[in-house]
């Protein structure tokens, strides 16, 4: 019989699912707070997204985004919430490494580590 996820495995998965939902909730609240701050500041500015300029450095890299958010810069604050959201699937994969290790399924610990490495590469490149 092929190994199928047993009950303990599923319970671990449900716990991860809940954590993800809290993560999304936290990220959304964070973005909402930043969004209100942003609108209070710049509600009457003309919006111009027709021409692509690309974001400045302080909204593109993890360290700069965190610094901007700590300085309570509205756009930087929102961007940190978005970064938090992007981190939720990464956290999920990281937790799955632990889950498979608990099951001693080393093949899937390997598979999951490959996926994790690809995600870390993308976020840090």
């Amino acid at each position: 019989m092929p190994a199928i996820p047993d009950w303990g495995d599923k319970r671990f998965e449900i716990m991860i699912g809940r954590l993800l939902r809290y993560g999304v909730f936290l990220a959304a609240s964070w973005v909402l707070v930043g969004g209100i701050h942003y609108l209070l500041q710049s509600h009457s500015e003309a919006m111009n997204y027709k021409v692509f300029r690309g974001e400045s450095d302080d909204l593109r890299f993890v360290r700069e985004i965190i610094r901007g958010a700590l300085e309570l810069n509205a756009r930087g604050f929102i961007q940190l919430g978005i970064l938090l959201l992007i981190a939720t699937p990464v956290a999920r994969v990281a937790f799955s490494v632990v889950g498979f290790a608990l099951e001693k399924d080393w093949l899937y610990v390997g598979v999951t580590l490959i996926v994790l490495a690809l995600l870390v590469y993308s976020l840090s490149s």
Binding site: P2, A3, I4, P5, K10, E13, I14, I16, G17, R18, L20, R21, V24, A27, A28, V31, L32, G34, G35, Y38, S42, H43, S44, E45, A46, M47, Y49, K50, V51, G54, E55, L59, R60, R75, G76, I78, Q79, I82, L83, L85, I86, T88, P89, V90, R92, V93, S96, L107, Y108, V111, T112, I114, V115, L118, L119, Y121, S122, L123, S124, S125
Partner: protein, 278 residues
């Protein structure tokens, strides 16, 4: 249009997209890019960045509900994610060197396919193919709950499914959508995984795939907080409302209507892409 007006209108549009996406099971992500580009004149690169963010939010937000049902197969998901994440990174790099006109046209074609696959009832997959030795090696076979108790299934054509998943990843990374339609095609029609298992496992994979390209989009400066904020909050709000009213909704009619809307947007995207006015 000033920032406040833009934010409110985009939030309302995204709320509707999220609501329809969750009610029909098609995901709100597919209409975000056409909404932002066609209705608000946003540059397609910013639109793709915001769309990716919304895709992650719905996938992660609904994971708990899907996992509880017991349909999704985490091994199939994780194994195929190797293909989709590599594809997503490829797609995100391709996006930088692909002219925006071409992206608009490709987007339209993928939208047309999504509309077509959504308007067609799920086809029962035959299971008389040869069992796959990779499926055994990778422990992909599993079972799922039915009314008559647990039913086990075998996974077939693993190399072909894996390859198509890579393509699904490229599309996701290039266009900023979840490309759930292609993922389900690979799992349901090629790998012969039961439909319910395919759709829920696909949802699990969409967030991870989107995160793989979102990192690259972020570094490239495609993710603008002023656009991503109303899109993310709107889609998430719409999905939450959708989950509440889903039990009583007339999903069939809604699916047909939403498919028609998607098809119309697809034609418009292709047309604008050909004209070069996007």
């Amino acid at each position: 249009m000033n920032t406040l007006e833009f934010t409110i209108l985009v939030a309302i549009g995204s709320l509707l997209a999220g609501l329809l996406g969750s009610l029909t099971g098609l995901g709100g992500g597919v209409v975000i890019v056409p909404l932002l580009t066609l209705a608000f004149g946003v540059d397609i690169r910013y639109a793709i960045g915001a769309s990716l963010v919304s895709v992650i939010s719905t996938s992660s937000g609904s994971a708990a509900a899907y996992l509880k049902e017991g349909y999704s197969n985490i091994r199939i998901g994780m194994f195929l994610e190797v293909a989709t994440t590599i594809g997503a990174i490829t797609g995100a790099y391709l996006a930088a060197s692909t002219p925006t006109r071409a992206i608009a046209i490709i987007f339209g074609v993928v939208l047309l396919y999504s509309a077509y696959s959504a308007s067609r009832p799920p086809k029962a997959s035959s299971t008389d193919d040869q069992p796959d030795r990779y499926a055994k090696l990778l422990k992909l076979d599993g079972d799922y709950p039915t009314a008559a108790g647990k039913e086990s299934y075998h996974v077939r054509h693993v190399p072909a499914g894996f390859s198509l998943m890579y393509l699904a990843g490229v599309i996701s990374g290039l266009l900023g959508i979840g490309s759930g339609a292609v993922k389900v095609l690979a799992m349901d029609q090629i790998m012969r995984i039961p439909f319910k298992v395919s759709t829920t496992t696909s949802n699990f994979m969409i967030g991870v795939t989107a995160a793989a390209s979102a990192g690259i989009y972020l570094h490239r400066g495609y993710i603008d907080p002023g656009i991503a904020m109303p899109v993310m909050l709107g889609v998430l709000g719409g999905a939450l409302i959708g989950a509440r009213i889903l039990p009583g909704a007339k999903v069939r009619t809604l699916r047909m209507v939403f498919s028609l809307v998607i098809a119309a947007l697809a034609v418009e995207m292709i047309f604008k892409g050909l004209k070069g006015s996007l």
